[in-house]
């Protein structure tokens, strides 16, 4: 540090200047129940399953490191005489899932038949076993199971700073 810095405490004033300049900025806060954050493109949210694309290969269940995917199927004859697998069960224990995405990577179909890319992050529930043990019906029709926060009027909610950007 030079002599001037030491005597005039310039570094201290530089620090004060930095904080003072921040005083004019707009708060970056997202006030959650009223406002919500738009997740990024690579966000891993809730699962979604497409039954049409799924070939019942069970690779996702095999790849899952904690074995939370359970798949069951039976074979049917199509009118053309071909054998076709029909999905009986596709269960996913969400409360143990760690969102590693290995099931998504293992899926051999293109486009993938199971993916985490729905941007749903509101996974809070009141009854764990009912809400977080997902079966075929829930996984295929997933479009967010979160009810609006009680007492929040969406019309009166403050503007969302994240959405304005």
């Amino acid at each position: 540090m030079s002599f001037l810095d030491r005597v005039l405490l310039l570094d201290i004033f530089a620090g004060l200047r930095v904080t003072a300049r921040h005083a004019g900025r707009k708060a970056d806060t997202i006030e959650y129940p009223e406002q919500s954050k738009e997740p990024s493109e690579r966000f891993r949210g809730m699962f979604r399953l497409d039954e049409e694309r799924c070939i019942k290969c069970t690779l996702c269940a095999i790849e899952c490191p904690i074995n939370i995917i359970y798949i069951d199927w039976h074979t049917e004859k199509t009118p053309e005489g071909k054998a076709e697998k029909k999905l009986d069960r596709f269960d996913l224990d969400m409360k143990r899932c760690m969102f590693c995405g290995l099931c998504e990577e293992a899926c051999p179909t293109n486009p993938r038949s199971i993916w985490l890319a729905t941007k749903t992050y509101e996974l809070g529930v009141y009854e764990r076993d009912e809400a977080l043990y997902l079966d075929k019906a829930k996984l295929t029709k997933w479009d967010g199971n979160v009810k609006p926060y009680p007492g929040v009027d969406p019309d009166k909610a403050p503007a969302n700073p994240a959405k304005e950007k």
Partner: protein, 388 residues
């Protein structure tokens, strides 16, 4: 009611009551101002749910604290445990009572000087004496809790407050030398006569007073006694409910009283800016009390600004700053001010002008020198390797 009863009993009682209420309320409102202000400086919002702009948050906090269970540790020293917060709170109120808030006020036919207590002719001495009692509050609170962290916090605090009382005392002595009196009212009158606030000749003294004031009130960057990340809550770890609230109030009360004393000593108390310049007399529209209160409020804002800016000192750094920097500087400054005061009012003006010019010249020199290279450029020049 007889005249003497009004003057000797009623008026002092009302003024004392008002001071206590003022400190308690101002402390509450200050917490709101501080939390909102810190929010602004840190690009977040701060409390904004209770009332308009979250203003009633402090009332909600007070209500919560009053109704909270008051836990006293079973092996604590009960009487001293109770005494600790009171010993810390009392000096803040007393000091504010000794500082004049304005010249004279006539209300309901009673004319009285605007002090809570009397215009003591050794007020400054009394203020120093009373405010040093606060150390006992902290160290007794820490010791009587019968717990490790409070004890460590209390010991740290005792060392810190005693160290910083020395430069603070010297800074105050500089102001006394300039004014030639220990009475707060006469110090303000002296600033009016000298025609210059004592910040200018006492620039160094004011700086010393302010820095040691931050240390005395245990505020960041000197908040070691209650360093949350090291000592849980420091000396008030074992306190809860309203006793804890008294600690909280006394921190803010001490801030106010330090600001009030600094305003009186260095910023002309209730005087308007340039009290001798006639054409500025339209400023007298603002009552004297509001000049005083406004100046104190600015001090409090600076306190909050400091808290938002600086990280906490390490304990040895704190001690080194106090003993190796502030005390020698304060002694040298005392010598300078004594010389100027010996010369008289003209000497004060000359000293003030010289100090202001020196600082201005230094700032200009600092402004005009070549900008320091950025960290990356310097690292490249010194061939510092960055591990990926």
């Amino acid at each position: 009611m007889s005249e003497s009863l009004v003057h000797n009993v009623l008026v002092p009682f009302v003024k004392g009551l008002l001071t206590v209420i003022l400190v308690a309320t101002a402390a509450g409102i200050l917490t709101w101002i501080e939390r909102r202000g810190l929010g602004r400086l840190q690009i977040r919002k701060g409390p904004n749910r209770v009332g308009p702009a979250g203003f009633f948050q402090w009332i909600a906090d007070v209500v919560k604290l009053v109704f909270k269970e008051d836990v006293v540790p079973s092996r604590a020293e009960k009487v001293i445990h109770l005494l600790g917060p009171l010993l810390l709170f009392m000096p803040a109120v007393v000091v504010l009572g000794l500082v004049p808030w304005g010249p004279e006020l006539t209300l309901f036919g009673v004319t009285t000087p605007l002090h809570a207590a009397a215009d003591v002719n050794v007020a400054l001495l009394l203020i120093l004496a009373v405010s040093s009692i606060g150390v006992y509050g902290i160290i007794l609170a820490g010791w009587s809790s019968n717990s490790k962290y409070p004890l460590l916090g209390g010991l740290r605090s005792a060392a810190q407050l005693i160290s910083y009382e020395v430069p603070m005392g010297f800074a105050v002595v500089a102001a006394v030398l300039m004014a030639g009196s220990l009475s707060m009212v006469e110090i303000i009158e002296a600033q009016k006569e000298a025609g210059v606030w004592f910040v200018f000749p006492g620039l160094v003294a004011f700086f010393l007073y302010f820095v040691s004031g931050v240390a005395e009130t245990n505020r960041t960057p000197f908040d070691l006694p209650e360093a949350e990340s090291e000592l849980v809550g420091g000396f008030h770890t074992e306190y809860s409910g309203f006793r804890w609230a008294i600690f909280f109030m006394s921190e803010y009360g001490n801030m106010i009283s330090i600001g009030a004393v600094a305003t009186t000593l260095f910023f002309g108390g209730w005087l308007r800016p340039f009290p001798n310049v006639a054409w500025l007399s339209f400023l007298d529209v603002v009552p004297a009390f509001f000049w005083f209160a406004g100046k104190v409020f600015l001090f409090l804002l600076v306190y909050i600004w400091f808290r938002a800016t600086f990280p906490r000192y390490r304990f040895d750094q704190l001690m080194a700053l106090g003993w190796k920097a502030l005390i020698p500087i304060s002694l040298g400054n005392l010598f300078l001010v004594a010389l100027a005061a010996l010369w008289g009012a003209a000497g004060l003006k000359v000293l003030g002008a010289v100090l202001v010019l020196l600082v201005a010249a230094g700032l200009v020199a600092a402004w005009r020198r070549p900008a320091r290279a950025s960290v990356t450029t310097r690292m490249a020049a010194e061939k510092v390797e960055v591990r990926a």
